[in-house]
Symmetry: C2
Subunit: 132 residues, 2 copies
């Protein structure tokens, strides 16, 4: 097997669930909700999550230890991610802004480091929460 074309059983179960809930979800919440489907141990979840992150089907929201389905069809491999996070309702949206991604992809730091990946998380209040 040189390259994986299809997802394995557990990977597909976990991905289906994450896509269904359509918001960031935590690993142990996935575990609790997929008992019936045979997902009974943390490792079954974490292994699937690792692979799904690796192939860009989902992203990890680092500041929340949560996972969310990728919304950008072009995120084949998730090297460049940006999110907006509402600190009140915890709503998370993936930012898809070509100017931003271009700017960050080309960013050169002073130490001359070669970047191959970035993750950006913006925090604030979403529209709904800012009028409350």
């Amino acid at each position: 097997m040189l390259k994986q074309e299809t997802l394995s059983k557990n990977q597909q179960i976990v991905l289906d669930y994450i896509e269904k809930v359509n918001e960031p979800i935590k690993a142990y919440s996935i575990l609790h909700n997929l008992q019936k489907k045979g997902i009974k141990a943390p490792l079954q979840v974490y292994r699937a999550l690792d692979k799904l992150v690796e192939i860009g089907k989902i992203h990890k929201i680092e500041s929340r230890n949560a996972f969310v389905a990728c919304k950008n069809s072009n995120c084949q491999i998730s090297k460049a991610t940006a999110f907006s996070i509402c600190e009140s309702c915890e709503e998370v949206s993936e930012i898809s802004d070509s100017k931003l991604s271009k700017y960050l992809k080309n960013f050169q730091d002073k130490a001359g480091m070669k970047f191959n990946k970035y993750n950006l998380e913006f925090f604030g209040l979403c529209k709904k929460c800012s009028v409350k």
Copy 2:
């Protein structure tokens, strides 16, 4: 007491240590290394870390669950942080680039969300590791 001007005992002990090691360090590593100074329980560490993050003396590297002293004298309150992280040696540097921070501070997402904070983490290979 309306506003804290000086750090408390534990806060100062923890900050001194983080500044001394001068690289990202984990909470339980801090705990283990400060037993002699009276830091004996996780909460003593986490409370100090929370406060130090809040006042901008240190930052959390979210992807690593590690804490590092702030290098930007102007980070009074840490609302806008950017780091470069070497995926080989795990060296972390705080990026201080006024153009980048200006760009991100003014970034407007399509949903019209009001941002008050962001965290950006770049990943790649540092100079040393890329020649290896």
